[in-house]
């Protein structure tokens, strides 16, 4: 088993040599980049990576440039997970047959996908990989829309968000359905470890990523990715918005071990009102019209209920 990289504090962490390069095509202020950097810097192990079609893939591998300093593959929209699973199978086969070029090094297999790729079009592929128990990590870069194509709704889009295919209009307040609970679904697959992370809570993220790299089997990470372009806030506010998300408990940070044991890993000192989080983003601004007040109320109620549920699960230890 490879050694866990020691990251006592941020100063120590800053000595990392990034394996993700700049001069890519991601928007200024893109959280995907911050997340990818934190994940790649969490380990010194070799990495075999994949990405599904989406912002990350399209902005970091446009011929003639690649922004990746580790082997990386993109096949299509649905199959970033299966691409890495295939590579992992090849690794196992070559190891058994004694044909690995660097037999003493054990690479980590990580697939990245947006929420569109993961919750929707690639859902079956992820399910298959997890059912088969490949030794891999799947990271969803969750910006709650199909961002790369201009902001269409996905099954991760939360209630009331205005997207291009479910826009707020005279007779609609935007998205009607709530976010799919992917973490519960992947935990139900019997994954040894699933967790929600956010880039503003880097220490929590690193701990979870390192743990994910240590366990055997498929690990699922849902990373909140505040999207300046689609959530409609100024690029410099990415971390500030992420703070609002975690501190309002809209994006609670927790982990589920072996599909059952839930641990809350971040408890904000001051829980802020959900409407402060919603109010900071253009995609929710129509919710502040008087006729939509009931949606704001519904939001706070639902987040409160969700937090209650998480605490009960944690207490009950099942």
């Amino acid at each position: 088993m490879s050694e866990i990289k020691k990251i006592k504090n941020l100063k120590e962490f800053s000595t990392s040599a990034d394996r993700f390069e700049g001069a890519n095509l991601l928007c200024p202020g893109c959280a995907h980049s911050i997340i990818v950097r934190e994940i790649l810097n969490a380990t010194n192990d070799d990495l075999i990576l994949s990405a599904s079609t989406g912002c990350l893939e399209v902005c970091t591998a446009v011929y003639p440039y690649t922004s990746w300093d580790a082997s990386w593959i993109h096949i299509g929209f649905e199959n970033g997970s299966t691409a890495v699973a295939g590579a992992e199978a090849m690794y196992k086969a070559l190891k058994r047959k004694g044909r690995l070029k660097q037999p003493d090094r054990e690479p980590k297999f990580v697939a990245f996908g947006g929420d569109g790729a993961s919750y929707d079009i690639g859902f079956q592929w992820i399910s298959g990989c997890f059912e088969r128990g490949h030794n891999m990590m799947y990271v969803v870069l969750d910006n709650e829309v199909y961002a790369n194509t201009g902001g269409q709704r996905s099954s991760s889009t939360p209630i009331g968000a205005s997207t291009t295919t479910a826009p707020a209009g005279r007779v609609s307040y935007g998205e009607k359905m709530n976010k799919k609970d992917m973490l519960a679904i992947m935990a139900a697959h019997g994954s040894p470890y699933v967790a929600q992370v956010a880039p503003n809570k880097w220490k929590d993220m690193i701990k979870k990523i390192q743990h994910g790299f240590q366990v055997e089997g498929p690990v699922f990470i849902n990373a909140m990715s505040a999207c300046t372009t689609e959530w409609k806030f100024a690029p410099e506010d990415t971390i500030a918005i992420s703070d609002l998300a975690t501190d309002s408990l809209v994006f609670p940070l927790y982990e589920i071990i072996d599909g059952t044991k839930l641990n809350i890993t971040y408890r904000p000192k001051n829980v802020i009102p959900v409407k402060d989080y919603l109010g900071a983003q253009g995609r929710f601004k129509h919710l502040f019209k008087p006729e939509n007040k009931h949606i704001l109320d519904e939001w706070q109620e639902r987040i409160d209920k969700q937090w209650e549920y998480l605490q009960r699960r944690e207490e009950a230890s099942v």
């Binding site: 070799d46 075999i48 994949s50 893939e57 399209v58 591998a61 446009v62 011929y63 003639p64 690649t66 990746w68 300093d69 580790a70 082997s71 990386w72 593959i73 993109h74 096949i75 299509g76 649905e78 199959n79 299966t82 691409a83 890495v84 699973a85 295939g86 590579a87 199978a89 090849m90 690794y91 196992k92 086969a93 070559l94 058994r96 047959k97 044909r99 690995l100 070029k101 660097q102 090094r105 690479p107 079956q124 592929w125 399910s127 298959g128 059912e131 088969r132």
Partner: protein, 406 residues
Amino acid sequence: MAEKMELRDIEVWDGNMAASQAMRQVQIDVVAAYPITPSTPIVENYGSFLANGYVDGEFVMVESEHAAMSGCVGASAAGGRVATATSSQGFALMVEVLYQASGMRLPIVLNVVNRALAAPLNVNGDHSDMYLGRDSGWIQFDAYNPQEAYDLNFIAFKVAEDHDVRLPAMVHQDGFMTSHTAQGVHTLDDDTAYNFVGEFQPMNDMLDLDNPVTHGVQTEEDWHFEHKARQHNDLMTKVFPKIEAAFDAFEKLTGRRYNLVETYNVEDADAVVVCMGTSVETAVEVSKELRAEGKKVGVVGIRVFRPWPFEAIRDALKDVKAIGALDRSSPNGTVGALFNELAGTLINGDTKNVLSNYVYGLGGRDLTKAHLREIFGELLANAEAGALTTPTQQFVGLRGPKLSFL
């Protein structure tokens, strides 16, 4: 270490078993597969070989055919020998990944047991799935019987993995008619079979951890054309010499001769039937009977469907007065694919060929010797008249009023 299997010199195998045995013998590193009639036995046989210690690669039983080809692409890019098998709907489901695999120049071998495409649903053999993948950028071989399904697998691995080629390859065989019909197959022993293909030589492999590579980039209007042109160029120029060299080496090893285009009595023929799959052997039998009756007829069997052996076919057919293109797939609104490929090949030649189209055998409908006699008869009439004596396109073996067009 995988156990070796002792084989008799001649085994009684159907096309599926023949393909699975070839897959076992070349010692594939990763098979990612999903079952679908009539290729399911290939996946089952492979699973059985694994369970009994004859395979030490990985066998990933994925959740769909799209995932099967996706897993194969990931495994191939990682760097090793990869293969799978499918048919019909599964082939259709994985079509987007077929294009991705060939665009990424990954040497995967796909056994396609040809079956009709729905709707209506049909599990029997025809070539509609094969035709769907025509432009996917894969090298494509066609086997007419279990022996060929066995032999062509070795050729496919050898050619696909060659560093000057690096293109995925399909081995087609007729669903049920070949896949489920047992015949005597001359075998190679495990060592000979493996050594013919040789050890896998990685190239641009992701698992070479000191040389990270990026596979599957995006190219837009400034680069896409060049990359696709390069792929097409390599298909047009690099593949035939390697296939012919492999055919030569195979003949030396086994005495069995394969050619880019299989021709039977074509040199002085007035009328030739061109077809694929099991129909070739039926046509050859009928042509022999007709020859005995003094009729100058011949048969061309397509052995390599892609790249299309333009020159070999043109040379074989240029002096043939009447040619019948037999398509085992409905062209749905036009003349058949084989008709079009032949027309394109022959149009700029100096001799005048009369070309007609027969659509037959859809969804497992038999093409009988009687049908072929009739077809040859019509072709000879065309040859005599120097022109079409029938409509351009006719359906053969169909119940109901005679269906013909153009």
